[in-house]
C-alpha cells in the first residue's frame, strides 16, 4: 500500500505544482493570500515528493518485485546499499530524484527567502512550479517508476554491475543538486524579466543559489570523474565524452555567472549579460540531461538510455528555453545600463574571465554537438575527440589562468596594472623560482609540462599573495597582520581559496597527463615488473565469492622506491544474475600519487595480462575540486550572504525602521 500511496503523493504534488504556477502567475502583483499559497505549496511539494521517493526506496529495500522498476533494477541477493542506490541507478528513478531535488530547491526558496519582495518571490516560485509540473508530468506519464506487475515476478534482474559501487550513492545526487540548483537562478532571471526589477539587489539575492549550485556541481563532476577513473579501469579520469561535457558546460557557464553576478551586485553593470548567463546555465543543464537520457550521442557512460523519452525532454527543453529567451528578447532592451569603468579595472578583469569561460563553453558545446550536426547535414560519422578539446580548451585556459591572480588585486572602476604587478612581485618571483626548480629536477624536458606546472604554481601563489596583501603584513607588522588576516570577510577568503583550488587542479592535471608511466605486460605467478621505481610482484590469483558475484582476484606486492612493501588486489568479477563481467582496478595510494593495476585476461596456465600505471600526484585533480567546492560553501556562510534569510532579516528590520 505504501508504494501506491507514494504514487498518489507524487500525483498530488504534480497537481499542486500546476496550481502553484497558475495562481502565482495570475496574482503575483497582489501578494497576500496568493503569495502565501505559492509559498506553502512549494514546501508541501517537497514533503509530498519526499514521501513518494521514500515509498519507492522502501519498495527497493524490501524487494517488492510487484514494482516493475524494482524487478528491472534490483535483486534479492544484492547488498542493501546497492538496493538503495538502485532507486536512482536507472532512468525512471533518476528522473524522480531530479524532481525531488527540484522541489527541494523550491522549498528552500520558499523557506529562506521570506524576506524577498513578495512579487519577486512569488514569480520565482511560480516558475519553479512550471518546472515541477513539467518534470513530474514527464515522470508520471512517460517514465513512471511506480508501474506495477500483477502477479509479481519471483525475483528481479539485477542492477547493472558497473553501477554497483559507492560512487552511485554520491555522484548522481551531487550532480543533480548542481544541475537543478541552477533552475533557481533561471527562475530568478525570468522573474526579473517579468517584473522588470533587475538591479544590484537582485544579483545579491541570486548569489547564494548560484554559489550553492556551483559548489555541488563541482563536487558532483569531481566525484563522477574519480568514479569513472577507478571503476572503468582504463586509468583515465577525463575522456571529453559527451556525457562528461554535458556536465562540464553548465559548470563553465555557472562559473562565469558567479563572476558576472559580482559585477552586477557591486557595480550595477553587466545586467543583461548576467541574466543571459543565468538562463543559459540552466539551459545547458537541461541539455545535459537530454544528452544523457536520450543516447543521441555515443558515450561510454550511457545506461539504459531511451530515445523516445529523450525527444520529450527535448520538447520541454525547447519550450522552457525558448520561452525564457523570448522574454529576454522582449525585456532586455529596456534595461538601464550600469556604472562606467575603464578597460583595466576589476570589472574589466571579470569581463575577460567571462569571455574566456564563455568561449570555452562554446568550444565544448561545438565539439560535442558537431558530430550530430555533421551527420544530419552530410551523413558522415565523426568523433570529436580529446585532441580537439585539449587544444581549444587548453589554449583558452592558459590566458585565463595567467589572469586569475591579477583580478582580485585590481580596483573597481579604474585599476593600475603597474601597481598591481608590483604588489604581485613576490608571487611572480616565487613562481619563477619554483618552476626553475621543477625544470631542473625534471632535467629540462622538451615539453610544455613544466610551463603547465608553472601556471598551476602561479595561480596558487597568486591566491596566497592576495591574502597576504589584504592582511598588509608589510605595513601593519606580523601580529596585526595576522589579526587582520583573521578578520578578512569570508568572501575574500573564499575567493582566494577557490582560486588556490584551481591551481591545485591544474597541477594535478599536468602531473597526471605528462608524467604518468604505463606498461602493459603479461605476468606469470612469481614474476615482477618495474615501473617508475616501483617493483610490482605478482603473487598469483584465487577464486573468491562475493555476495552476488564470483571473482578472480590477483594479488600483487608493490615495493616502493623507498623500500616499503604493500599489498594490492585487482579483480575480474562475474555477477551472478546478469552474468556480466566487470573489472575492479587495484589502486594503492602513496601520498598524493597512485599505483593503478588492471587485471586482464588469462595467459597460459598461471599468467595474466596486466596493465600498470604510475600516476604521480593524480589526487591533486580531485583535491583541487574539493577545495573549490569548500570555498563555495565557505562563502555561503558569509554574514552578508544571509541577507535573504529569515534570522538575519528579523534582526535587520527594526534597524532599518529606525
Amino acid at each position: 500500500m505504501l508504494i501506491e500511496l507514494g504514487h498518489f503523493a507524487l500525483i498530488l504534488a504534480f497537481a499542486l505544482a500546476f496550481a502553484q504556477a497558475g495562481v502565482g502567475f495570475a496574482f503575483w502583483k497582489r501578494g497576500g493570500a496568493a503569495a502565501a499559497f505559492v509559498q506553502q505549496s512549494a514546501i508541501l511539494q517537497f514533503v509530498l515528493v519526499g514521501a513518494s521517493f521514500a515509498a519507492l526506496t522502501q519498495a527497493f529495500i524490501v524487494s517488492d518485485f510487484s514494482v516493475k522498476l524494482v524487478y528491472e533494477h534490483s535483486h534479492s541477493i544484492q547488498p542493501m546499499l546497492y538496493k538503495i542506490t538502485s532507486v536512482w541507478g536507472n532512468h525512471e528513478g533518476s528522473m524522480l530524484l531530479f524532481v525531488l531535488i527540484l522541489v527541494l530547491f523550491g522549498a528552500a526558496v520558499a523557506a529562506f527567502s521570506r524576506n524577498l519582495p513578495d512579487d519577486l518571490r512569488t514569480l520565482v516560485l511560480s516558475m519553479q512550479g512550471v518546472m515541477v509540473a513539467a518534470f513530474s508530468a514527464f515522470v508520471l506519464f512517460t517514465s513512471n517508476p511506480f508501474w506495477r506487475f500483477d502477479p509479481a515476478p519471483i525475483d528481479g534482474t539485477e542492477l547493472n554491475p558497473v553501477l554497483q559501487d559507492i560512487g552511485l550513492a554520491l555522484h548522481p545526487p551531487l550532480l543533480y543538486l548542481g544541475y537543478v540548483g541552477f533552475s533557481v537562478c533561471f527562475s530568478f532571471a525570468t522573474a526579473a524579466l517579468i517584473s522588470g526589477r533587475i538591479d544590484a539587489a537582485w544579483a545579491r539575492w541570486v548569489r547564494p543559489w548560484t554559489l550553492a549550485s556551483w559548489a555541488f556541481l563541482t563536487l558532483g563532476i569531481a566525484m563522477g570523474s574519480y568514479w569513472a577513473y577507478y571503476e572503468l579501469g582504463w586509468g583515465g579520469w577525463w575522456f571529453w565524452d559527451p556525457v562528461e561535457n554535458a556536465s562540464f558546460m553548465p559548470w563553465l557557464a555557472g562559473t562565469a555567472l558567479l563572476h558576472s553576478a559580482i559585477v552586477m551586485e557591486k557595480r550595477n553593470a553587466l545586467k543583461v549579460w548576467t541574466i543571459f548567463l543565468a538562463i543559459i546555465t540552466f539551459s545547458l543543464s537541461l541539455l545535459g540531461t537530454f544528452l544523457v537520457r536520450s543516447g543521441v550521442l555515443t558515450s561510454v557512460h550511457s545506461f539504459a538510455s531511451d530515445p523516445t523519452r529523450g525527444t520529450v525532454i527535448l520538447a520541454m527543453l525547447a519550450a522552457l528555453i525558448g520561452g525564457a529567451f523570448t522574454l529576454f528578447a522582449l525585456r532586455a532592451s529596456a534595461l538601464r545600463s550600469g556604472g562606467l569603468f575603464a578597460p583595466i579595472s576589476r570589472e574589466g578583469a571579470l569581463i575577460l574571465n567571462n569571455l574566456f569561460l564563455s568561449a570555452a563553453t562554446a568550444g565544448v558545446l561545438v565539439g560535442t554537438l558537431y558530430p550530430l550536426v555533421l551527420e544530419a547535414l552530410t551523413g558522415a560519422r565523426i568523433t570529436v575527440g580529446a585532441p580537439f578539446f585539449d587544444l581549444t580548451f587548453g589554449a583558452l585556459m592558459v590566458p585565463l589562468l595567467l589572469l586569475i591572480p591579477f583580478g582580485p588585486f585590481l580596483a573597481w572602476k579604474r585599476g593600475d596594472l603597474a601597481a598591481v604587478t608590483q604588489r604581485l612581485m613576490g608571487a611572480i618571483i616565487a613562481t619563477v623560482l619554483v618552476t626553475i626548480i621543477v625544470f631542473t629536477l625534471l632535467g629540462f624536458p622538451v615539453s610544455l609540462a613544466p610551463l603547465g606546472l608553472g601556471l598551476g604554481f602561479w595561480v596558487m601563489l597568486g591566491a596566497i599573495a592576495e591574502l597576504f596583501d589584504k592582511a598588509a603584513f608589510r605595513r601593519a607588522g606580523f601580529r596585526r597582520g595576522l589579526a587582520r588576516l583573521k578578520g578578512l570577510p569570508r568572501t575574500v577568503w573564499s575567493t582566494a581559496i577557490a582560486h588556490f583550488g584551481v591551481g591545485v587542479t591544474v597541477l594535478g592535471v599536468v602531473f597526471a597527463t605528462a608524467f604518468q608511466t604505463e606498461i602493459v605486460t603479461s605476468m606469470r605467478q612469481g614474476e615482477s615488473a618495474e615501473i617508475a621505481g616501483y617493483t610490482v610482484h605478482y603473487d598469483g590469483e584465487q577464486m573468491l565469492e562475493g555476495p552476488n558475484y564470483i571473482a578472480e582476484r590477483g594479488t600483487f606486492r608493490i615495493i616502493a622506491p623507498w623500500g616499503t612493501t604493500s599489498r594490492l588486489t585487482s579483480e575480474r568479477r562475474v555477477y551472478a544474475v546478469s552474468r556480466m563481467p566487470t573489472t575492479e582496478a587495484g589502486i594503492n595510494t602513496y601520498g598524493l600519487s597512485q599505483m593503478y593495476v588492471q587485471f586482464g585476461e588469462r595467459f597460459g596456465a598461471d599468467g595474466r595480462v596486466v596493465r600498470l600505471w604510475h600516476k604521480p600526484y593524480v589526487l591533486l585533480i580531485w583535491l583541487g575540486a574539493i577545495i573549490m567546492a569548500g570555498a563555495g560553501f565557505l562563502s555561503l556562510t558569509d554574514r552578508r550572504m544571509r541577507i535573504g534569510a529569515p534570522q538575519a532579516a528579523r534582526r535587520k528590520r527594526p534597524e532599518a525602521a529606525q
Binding site: E4, L16, F27, G31, L44, S63, L140, D199, A200, G487
Partner: protein
C-alpha cells in the same frame, strides 16, 4: 485503506494551504529587503576602506554612487503598491480542483487494487503452485511482445513449449534464440528437435542441416549426432550412419544409458549397409534419446536443487518405465530424503502403487 490515507493526505495538504492563506505574511514592508541590501552595500564599502582595499576618496565616491542608487530606487519602486492584496476567495477555488485532478490522474494510472508485496512476506512456494504454467507462459509472452530481442525470454519459453507439446511454438522460440545469440550446438539441436517433432518425427532438410552444423561445431556433441545417426539409418544412408554411430560410441565412456541404443543403431546400420534391406526394425533412436534426455535432465535438476512433490513423482514414474525398478528405487530414496512430511507420504503412496 489506501483510499482513506489518500484522502487524509489530500485533506492535510489542502488544510495546510488554507491555513497559510488565512494568515498571509503580516503586511511586511515591501521595500525592506531592498533597503537591507543597500545597507549591506554601505557596510561593504566601510569594510573595504577598513582593510585598505579602497582609499578614503574612492570610498566617498562609492558612497555617493550608492546614494544615487537609493534615491532612484525610492523614486521608481518606493511607491506604495497600487494593486490591492489578493483576496482569498479566487485562490480558494483552486483547492478542490487540485484534489479532483489528483484523484482523477491516480484513478487513471494508479493500481489501488495491488497491495505491496515485500519479498520477505511472500510465500513463494505457494505462489509457485498458484501460478499455473499457462499464466507464466502468458506473462513471458506478453513481455516478449514488447522486447522481442530479449533472448532470455525465448530461452525460458522454448523448453516449456516442448514439454507441453506445443512444438511449432517451441521451434519459433528456438529460432529466435539462434537469431539473437551466438549459435551453439545445443541451440541448433534444440531447433532441429522441435522441427522434427512438428513433422511427426520426420527430419526435413533444415533440421538435418542444423544437426550437421551442430555436430560440426562441437566434436563431442552427443544429442545432435544421435538424431542424425538415427535419421540417416532410417533413410537408408547406412554408411554415413554407421560412421556416426561409431563416433558416438567413441565419445561414450561406456556408462552412458544411451550406449545400448547406439550399439543397436550401429548394428542396424551395418546390417543395412551389407544387405541393403533391413530385417530388424530400426530402433527408434530419436524418441528414445528425447525421452531419456528429459528424464536425465529432470533427475539432474531435482538432485541438484530439489523440486516439488509432483516433479519427484514424475521422475520416479518415468524411471520405472525406462530403466526399471532398481533405478527408480534409487530416485525414490533420494526424493524421500529431500521432501517434507506431506510430500513424503504422497511419494510413498506412489511407490506402493508402482510396487516398489
Amino acid at each position: 485503506m489506501l483510499w482513506l490515507f489518500a484522502i487524509l493526505l489530500t485533506l492535510a495538504a489542502l488544510g495546510a494551504l488554507y491555513a497559510a492563506m488565512r494568515r498571509p505574511l503580516a503586511g511586511a514592508d515591501e521595500d525592506a529587503p531592498t533597503r537591507a541590501f543597500f545597507k549591506s552595500q554601505l557596510e561593504g564599502i566601510e569594510e573595504d576602506m577598513r582593510i585598505g582595499r579602497i582609499s578614503e576618496s574612492e570610498a566617498a565616491a562609492a558612497r555617493g554612487e550608492l546614494a544615487r542608487e537609493v534615491l532612484r530606487f525610492e523614486r521608481e519602486e518606493g511607491k506604495p503598491a497600487s494593486a490591492p492584496a489578493a483576496k482569498i476567495l479566487p485562490v480558494l477555488i483552486v483547492l478542490p480542483l487540485v484534489a479532483v485532478v489528483a484523484f482523477a490522474v491516480y484513478i487513471a494510472i494508479g493500481r489501488a487494487d495491488l497491495p505491496g508485496q515485500p519479498l520477505a512476506g511472500r510465500d513463494l512456494a505457494a505462489e509457485g503452485g498458484q501460478i499455473s504454467i499457462e499464466d507464466a507462459i502468458a506473462q513471458v509472452e506478453a513481455r516478449l511482445v514488447e522486447t522481442p530481442n530479449d533472448v532470455r525470454g525465448w530461452e525460458a519459453l522454448g523448453p516449456v513449449y516442448m514439454q507441453m507439446g506445443r512444438y511449432s511454438e517451441a521451434a519459433n522460440a528456438f529460432r529466435h534464440i539462434l537469431d539473437l545469440a551466438p549459435p551453439t550446438a545445443d541451440a541448433e539441436t534444440d531447433l532441429a528437435e522441435a522441427l522434427i517433432l512438428v513433422n511427426d518425427g520426420a527430419a526435413d532438410e533444415e533440421s538435418i542441416a542444423l544437426l550437421r552444423s551442430a555436430a560440426g561445431r562441437d566434436p563431442v556433441h552427443v544429442r545432435s549426432r544421435f538424431y542424425l545417426a538415427g535419421e540417416l539409418t532410417r533413410s537408408g544412408n547406412f554408411e554415413e550412419a554407421a560412421a556416426l554411430w561409431r563416433e558416438l560410441l567413441d565419445i561414450a565412456v561406456g556408462e552412458e544409458p544411451w550406449v545400448a541404443t547406439a550399439r543397436a543403431g550401429l548394428a542396424a546400420a551395418e546390417a543395412g549397409s551389407t544387405d541393403a534391406t533391413l530385417s530388424d526394425p530400426v530402433p527408434d533412436a530419436t524418441q528414445e534419446v528425447m525421452i531419456r534426455g528429459m528424464v536425465e535432465g529432470l533427475a539432474a535438476r531435482l538432485y541438484d536443487t530439489g523440486g516439488s512433490t509432483d516433479e519427484w513423482m514424475q521422475l520416479v514414474r518415468s524411471r520405472m518405465v525406462i530403466d526399471g525398478q532398481d533405478a527408480a528405487r534409487q530416485d525414490l530414496d533420494r526424493g524421500l530424503a529431500a521432501l517434507d512430511a506431506e510430500g513424503r507420504t504422497a511419494l510413498a503412496d506412489l511407490a506402493a502403487e508402482l510396487g516398489l
